[in-house]
């Protein structure tokens, strides 16, 4: 089987690595091979964070350009930034809530309209958009936006793990007192994408 490639892209503090570790946990529980790259750089708060994952028979933890099955964008500009990982069969799931970089708030750079980013990605990929922050608020805790994204990912046709397996992994990977709210966030993300497809 060709390895299934996922590129997670977001901003430090969004819980990108926690999200990817949930998927990794579920893959291991199923008995699938999984490899992932994390880059922990300098003071990462506010910096870009990318995790790359391949599920299946792969040794390289870097997703080759063109071979991402999914780009899971936790933030619009960050999703766009990893577009070179996409190929002909790539789906982009993008949370449309921008996080304005400091370079923009001080007026040195500009943040393009989100619709323009979505438009450019749509020319090449299937694109599903959602507001992870909005759904997390609905779930009852803003910090669950990353698990909303995990739920959204799980709803994609072709994603190699099923909903129950993923929910088990959520239970293992989040602190016990936040399990319930995270499962709710997962459901909301899952339903949102199921509805769009």
């Amino acid at each position: 089987m060709r390895p299934y490639g996922i590129v997670y892209a977001g901003v430090g503090g969004q819980g990108v690595l926690t999200a990817s570790s949930i998927v990794g946990e579920a893959a291991i529980r199923r008995g699938l091979n999984v490899v992932m790259s994390e880059i922990h750089g300098m003071a990462q708060r506010g910096g870009s964070v990318v995790a790359e994952m391949r599920i299946g028979n792969a040794r390289s933890s870097i997703v080759p350009e063109g071979e991402a099955d999914v780009i899971l964008g936790f933030e619009p500009v960050e999703a766009y930034r990893v577009a070179h990982k996409g190929g002909e069969n790539t789906t982009v799931i993008m949370s449309t809530d921008p996080i304005i970089p400091f370079t923009v708030s001080v007026g040195k750079e500009t943040y393009p309209p989100v619709e323009e980013l979505v438009g450019a990605l749509q020319e090449k990929f299937r694109v599903v958009t959602l507001s992870a922050v909005g759904l997390a608020r609905k779930a009852g805790n803003l910090l669950t936006a990353n698990v909303v994204m995990v739920g959204a990912l799980t709803a994609l046709p072709g994603f190699p793990l099923d909903r129950e397996e993923m929910m088990e992994a959520v239970k293992v990977r989040v602190p016990p007192r936040f399990v319930e709210v995270n499962l709710k966030a997962f459901e909301l993300g899952y339903e949102e994408v199921s509805r769009c497809l």
């Binding site: 570790s21 999984v34 300098m42 960050e78 070179h84 400091f102 750079e109």
Partner: protein, 624 residues
């Protein structure tokens, strides 16, 4: 606890581990007794895991003052007959190098594994030196894993080989292996000896010239033995069949293996894990029947040069491709694309490279910034104000050091003019004070102060360097993930420990003008820096305030959520807060109004002081 999974006693259990976590598991399966380090990315998590589990596992673990001390501690452990491990980032081995070299001469009794975490592409480093050459300079066996599972298994072999040869083993990892997560299958945990015993043998352990001469001869003999071991080791294995050979190691192997398989390239791949001494017998065997061989390795042409030398000496007629004939790059980490391009070029293949191109849109950059609430921002802000008022801001040379505060290089602070390595803030400041007539100010963090600044400050005192030295004391080793250091009342095992007082240290070495201030108090901080600027001779200002991330975590736990916002009626839009204080929580709306993002504001309140907002427009948000 977060890292308890590495203590799971169940053999056969599969866990999704980071390379760095797998290293600890491997060491615990090898009967580790002692470990030491100075934190440095990409090796930092090895220390974080040990800090959390060493005591439970019955291992002695310490965060040493610096890498040289860490190396000496571990060498003494191994000389006492217990299995010991020392680890650091690649440039850490530069600091440890003096001790490292001699360790090969005097040798070990218990196994000693020295882990170097190299950083191709410099994700968090000042250079991308290839530490495989250290194995050659020191004459030490070396291993290079490609994945977390291999890292775990190979650590055990490294201890075995170390004891068989009586030599330390250099264990060379790279960022993509340290920070790669993969499935790791556990073996049995083995409890190490709690204590060793040192048997005196000065002729063996004291390399005075008369002893050292014999040691060198013995070392060279041992390396012949090591080469035989490398040539028969299962860590050096052949995969696949074809007329073309590929020799590879480390992370590069992963890309080669995937590309060869995915594109059905008919190639015989020699995957080297035991890479020094170069396993010539094994390579000779591998080359039989091949007309062309390609060497795929990151950074320097270490294996390629060995191979070319061997072919020349032995008269082997084969085409060798790699970096030296321009097919592969000598810089940055490899990717599947780099490997495909290189193979296309070397072998005349036509492998497809790259994905689809998306319409170009200019997107903003997102560089790492000092966090909201970071005390370093307050320090830089206060110093900038003082030096501008004295009209010496542009004239002053700012030497900086390795830590979060290196971000002082960014606008609007721009207080990082010169940096070499850990501790260079102090040493280079001495030099600039002598070489120029410009004012000189050096910056180092608390952990860096202990690591390598003290000898340079002694130098400054003795040689009468006129400089200001600032210790940005945020009570932790922040950048590498909040490890303790000698200034804190906790040690590597998590036990209570004597905390050294930085002020007493600098006074003890003869510096008289010393002040300790809280950088959150901008007014006081400015006053202290005015006095330091006016002082003739060396002065030290310690700006002490704990890292904002630690404060944030404590507040979150306690349910304290303080926030500030801008009172629009009082704001004059002078933009001093946005442009000069420059906390990332500030933003301007489309009409030019200034606001504070409540998700980013950590409630430090520094910006509400009149020294930042002279109009008193920044107020704490009242709870409803």
């Amino acid at each position: 606890m977060k890292y308890d999974m590495v203590l799971d006693p169940t053999p056969g259990r599969k866990a999704f581990l980071l390379g760095n976590e797998a290293v600890v598991r491997g060491a615990l399966e090898a009967g580790l007794s002692l470990a030491s380090t100075y934190p440095g990315t990409p090796s930092s998590e090895i220390g974080n895991v040990l800090h959390a589990v060493a005591k439970k596992a019955g291992v002695y673990f310490e965060f040493s003052t610096n890498e040289k001390v860490a190396m000496e501690v571990a060498a003494a452990g191994a000389a006492s007959g217990i299995r010991s491990m020392v680890f650091f980032k690649h440039v850490g081995l530069n600091v440890a190098a003096d001790a490292f070299m001699s360790t090969a001469y005097v040798g070990v009794r218990g196994g000693l594994v020295v882990i170097t975490a190299d950083d191709p592409s410099m994700h968090s480093s000042q250079n991308e030196q290839d530490n495989r050459y250290y194995a050659q300079i020191a004459q030490m066996p070396m291993m290079e894993p490609s994945s977390p599972q291999e890292a775990k298994d190979m650590i055990k072999e490294a201890f075995e080989i170390s004891e068989k040869l009586g030599l330390p083993v250099l264990f060379r990892m790279t960022t993509r292996v340290n920070h790669m997560r993969g499935v790791v299958e556990y073996g049995e945990l083995v409890k190490g000896k709690p204590k060793g015993r040192f048997e005196k043998a000065p002729s063996r352990y004291v390399p005075v010239p008369s002893n050292a001469r014999g040691m060198h001869i013995r070392l060279l003999k041992k390396m012949e033995e090591a080469e035989e071991m490398a040539s028969t080791s299962h860590l050096n294995r052949v995969e696949g069949e074809g007329d073309v050979g590929i020799i590879t190691s480390g992370a590069a192997y992963n890309y080669v293996a995937d590309v060869v398989e995915e594109h059905g390239i008919r190639a015989r791949v020699l995957k080297l894990g035991f890479t020094h001494p170069f396993p010539r017998a094994r390579v000779r065997e591998f080359l039989k029947g091949l007309k062309t061989v390609v060497v795929v390795e990151e950074l320097e042409p270490y294996m390629e040069k060995e191979l070319r030398a061997m072919a020349q000496v032995e008269g082997i007629d084969i085409r060798i491709h790699g970096k030296m004939d321009g097919h592969f790059p000598r810089h940055y980490e490899y990717t599947p694309e780099v490997v495909k391009r290189g193979l296309n070029s070397a072998l005349g293949l036509n492998l497809p490279v790259g994905g689809v191109k998306v319409r170009e849109i200019t997107v903003p950059s997102r560089p790492p910034v000092l966090c909201p609430g970071c005390p370093h921002r307050a320090t830089y802000y206060a110093i900038g104000a003082v030096l501008r008022a004295k009209k010496i801001r542009d004239e002053t040379i700012f030497t900086t050091d390795i830590g979060c505060y290196t971000l002082g290089i960014q606008k609007p602070y721009e207080m990082a003019d010169y940096l070499l390595c850990m501790g260079s803030s102090a040493g280079a400041a001495c030099g600039f004070a002598k070489a120029t007539d410009q004012p000189v100010m050096g910056f180092a963090g608390d952990s860096t102060f202990f690591h390598a600044c003290i000898p340079a400050l002694i130098n400054a005192v003795h040689n009468r360097a006129n400089m200001i030295f600032v210790v940005l004391d945020n009570r932790t080793t922040a950048m590498t993930g909040h490890q303790p250091h000698p200034g804190l009342p906790i040690d590597g095992l998590g036990d209570e420990a004597p905390a050294l007082d930085i002020e007493k240290v600098v006074r003890g070495i003869g510096i008289e003008h010393v002040e300790v201030v809280d950088p959150y108090d901008i007014k006081e901080t400015k006053a202290a820096f005015r006095r330091a600027v006016e002082h003739n001779g060396i002065s030290v200002v310690i700006t002490r305030r704990e890292c904002a991330l630690i404060m944030d975590a404590r507040n979150r736990k306690a349910g304290i959520f303080r926030k500030y916002d801008v009172n629009q009626d009082m704001c004059t839009r002078c933009y001093n807060c946005v442009e000069n204080f420059a906390c990332p929580a500030f933003y301007r709306d489309e009409e030019g109004g200034v606001h504070i993002n409540p998700y980013l504001c950590d409630g430090c309140g520094v910006c509400s002081q009149r020294d930042v907002c002279p109009f008193g427009a920044i107020e704490e948000v009242k709870k409803e």
